[in-house]
């Protein structure tokens, strides 16, 4: 047993002038920690959090706990998928079925076993309505698709008279817009079955939620690193130093990758 894995620590946290004694069991993979890490992270967060973010964090932690016992045996890929899946479902559940994309995510997740368990776990209070909604989604989508096919077959194409420059430019731009709308539809979950207006609304909502998700995940990553780094001080330094270095390195790597992503976005 490596020292940094399977750590049992007493961590003293001060939160609003109270001192909370927490028993934290840390593995080297922080996101799949025990439930107390959630309070830990929440308590360490000084910045004011919106309702959405707090809800998301709570649900995400709940979802991660579902994987609780299996975390040791999971490979890296599985772990990443577990984290991402629970994060996505938690995000979708914050919207509680009011938006199409959240319904789509939940419906898709319910298709396989892992997702089903998570969905049931995270959405148990409101699950009835949501389950109905997600099952109804498939039918709804089929219906929409059929309608669109019908519409396209029935619509009469206008004859293009001698193309003036303006008209030509307009048609080109229309084509571009259509193509990009298609791309957007592929990006937003459940977007293929919506018309333009609701697509944009969905995108709006989806973007806001994604932003919140990224923010929460990044902050909890930072906090968890902090915690582990702090805990590592209590560790047996002789044995744990290698892993600890790797650990720090990975976190830095992720941080840099995030920074570079940001750079790219700034270009475009």
């Amino acid at each position: 047993m490596k020292p940094l894995t399977n750590y049992v620590l007493f961590v003293f946290i001060s939160f609003k002038n109270c001192i909370i004694l927490q028993l934290v069991s840390l593995t080297s993979h922080d996101f799949l920690c025990s439930c107390s890490i959630q309070e830990l992270i929440l308590s360490r967060m000084r910045a004011p959090r919106s309702v959405l973010k707090q809800q998301f964090l709570k649900k995400w932690m709940m979802g991660l706990q579902v994987f609780g016992s299996a975390k040791q045996s999971m490979s890296i890929l599985e772990r990443k998928k577990a984290i991402k899946l629970s994060a996505d479902i938690a995000l979708a559940s914050t919207r509680a079925g009011r938006t199409c994309w959240s319904r789509t995510i939940i419906a898709d997740a319910s298709k396989d076993d892992d997702g089903k368990v998570l969905v049931q776990h995270l959405l148990s209070p409101e699950s009835e309505r949501l389950k109905k909604a997600s099952t109804g989604l498939a039918m709804e989508n089929k219906r929409v698709r059929c309608k669109k096919i019908l519409k396209r077959s029935c619509c009469i194409k206008r004859v293009r008279k001698g193309a003036s420059k303006v008209v030509l430019a307009k048609s080109i731009s229309k084509r571009i817009v259509k193509r990009r709308t298609q791309v957007l539809k592929s990006l937003v979950p459940g977007g293929e079955f919506m018309d333009d207006i609701s697509l944009i609304e969905e995108t709006l909502d989806y973007m806001v939620s994604l932003r919140a998700q990224v923010d929460v995940m990044r902050r909890s990553l930072a906090k968890a690193t902090e915690v582990v780094n702090g805990c590592a001080q209590y560790a047996n330094k002789d044995e744990g130093i290698e892993e600890y270095n790797l650990y720090v390195r990975e976190h830095d790597y992720i941080r840099k990758l995030m920074g570079n992503l940001y750079l790219i976005h700034r270009i475009e």
């Binding site: 919106s50 991402k84 571009i176 957007l184 709006l204 973007m207 990975e250 840099k256 750079l263 270009i267």
Partner: protein, 450 residues
């Protein structure tokens, strides 16, 4: 989308031949409102007048118009912007009075969207702002009873407007001015005064649905040669008359899309474009970026070092698909920041050696290749990422990263030895460290810090 469908129902009812009625109401209210101006200066009088002006059985879209028309009058009556805080309770009352049951859903949705937008802005005041946004919902809920609202709540909740909310609303207000409704444009102008940001945000939420109706109404008025018709509108109307419902519906649809694009513009950074196509482009890029961020963040806490990273990133880049080009990796400069300006490459021969070495290693085992590179202080990344970063650091960051400018030029200068290879030095601007260099290999990409 239930709120949308309800809006559509309301508007469809408007589009029916019975559109004469709302038009007349509009005109009536216009006439009545013109009387308001000299008379009403106090809040209560105004409220009473508004209450009397609205026919009790008026349908939802009609109720919007007196509210919208009343706005400029309200503001005019109270004059300067210093009086704005006093206006707010007025407008709230009108809001309460003006709202109808059908309206709730869409406005609640819109206001919640705004709320989450605001919270998504991550401001310090975001939580407070979110609470402010919640209040309109309560207001609207109690408006069903038709009671004039508790000014106390409103007064307290509209203090300390958030800057982002104002911008949000201003942007949206400017966007809504594209509509043909003169009244709505007037009201928007008044709302653009940066005062009590949350209040405009609330009205904004209402106006999301309201402007659609308001904008709709002047169109039938235009097509019928109604009161505000100018010669230009009349010409447009004649053409529109031929295919009346279609053109109106299309115009409406276009305007709604424009509204929402404006709202999106607030969210997406770098969005100073007004063109639909380029806005869509920005939106797509941003969504992709956010999704990528989520993916990256979810692969944290990797145990076992670089070897474990490889399958993870291979998975990621295989999902990313076409972006990554198959290429051999080429060694890059080690480029420690402490070297300062001296970032000249080691001689090429050693680089090619490294490159071959890495290529060989990659064939057998990704993990060992990664470790080898890591030992040299290099990293792998998808070509698209690498080129993007290089261009960014070349163009935009060059004043900041002077000393490291050199190696960036070099890879571009020397060019790929084979079409599939590229070299890049990646720098993390925040850290000032050189993270490594780039190259994509067999659709696996990873970055490790030296």
């Amino acid at each position: 989308m239930q709120p949308c469908s309800r809006e559509m129902q309301g508007i469809n009812s408007l589009l029916n031949p019975s559109s004469q009625i709302p038009l007349q109401d509009l005109q009536n209210q216009q006439i009545q409102n013109s009387h308001f101006d000299p008379n009403s200066s106090s809040n209560d009088d105004f409220l009473e007048q508004m209450l009397s002006a609205i026919p009790p059985s008026c349908s939802w879209p009609d109720l919007k118009s007196p509210w919208d028309l009343a706005m400029p009058i309200n503001s005019n009556g109270n004059g300067n912007s210093a009086a704005k805080p006093r206006d707010l309770p007025d407008e709230t009352d009108n809001t309460n009075v003006g709202f109808h049951n059908n309206f709730d859903e869409s406005v609640i949705l819109a206001s919640k969207l705004r709320q989450h937008q605001i919270s998504g802005g991550g401001n310090g005041a975001a939580a407070a702002a979110a609470k402010m946004m919640l209040h309109p919902q309560f207001l609207m809920a109690s408006a069903r009873g038709g009671l004039p609202q508790n000014d106390v709540i409103d007064g307290s909740s509209f203090k300390g407007g958030d800057g982002s909310i104002q911008e949000l609303f201003n942007g949206f207000g400017a966007g809504s001015m594209n509509g043909t409704g003169q009244a709505s444009s007037q009201s928007m102008q008044h709302f653009n005064h940066p005062q009590g940001g949350a209040m405009p945000a609330q009205n904004f939420g209402a106006q999301v649905a309201a402007t659609t109706a308001v904008m709709n109404q002047p169109q039938p008025s235009g097509s019928n040669g109604g009161a505000p018709a100018q010669p230009k509108q009349r010409v447009r109307a004649r053409r529109g008359q031929a295919t009346d419902p279609h053109s109106i519906a299309e115009r409406l649809r276009r305007e709604r899309i424009a509204e929402r694009m404006k709202a999106l513009q607030e969210l997406v950074p770098n969005a100073n474009k007004t063109d639909k196509a380029s806005m869509l482009d920005e939106i797509i890029d941003y969504v992709k970026f956010l999704q990528l961020q989520v993916k990256v963040l979810s692969m944290s806490r990797l145990g076992g070092g670089a070897a474990a990273v490889a399958p993870l990133v291979a998975d990621m880049s295989s999902e990313a698909g076409g972006d990554c080009i198959q290429a051999g990796a080429k060694g890059g400069s080690l480029a420690r920041p402490s070297n300062g300006s001296q970032t000249a490459r080691t001689n090429d021969s050693s680089l090619t050696v490294t490159e071959h070495q890495v290529a060989k290693l990659m064939e057998e085992d990704m993990g060992s290749a990664m470790q080898y590179l890591q030992g040299k202080g290099l990293c792998l990344m998808p070509i698209s990422l690498a080129t993007a970063i290089s261009t960014a650091t070349c163009h935009s960051r060059s004043p900041v990263i002077n000393n490291n400018h050199h190696p960036l030029l070099q890879p571009n200068g020397e060019g790929p030895t084979s079409p599939s290879m590229s070299v890049l030095t990646v720098q993390s601007a925040t850290m000032g460290n050189v993270g490594g260099d780039g190259g994509a290999a067999k659709d696996a990409a990873s970055v490790s810090k030296p």
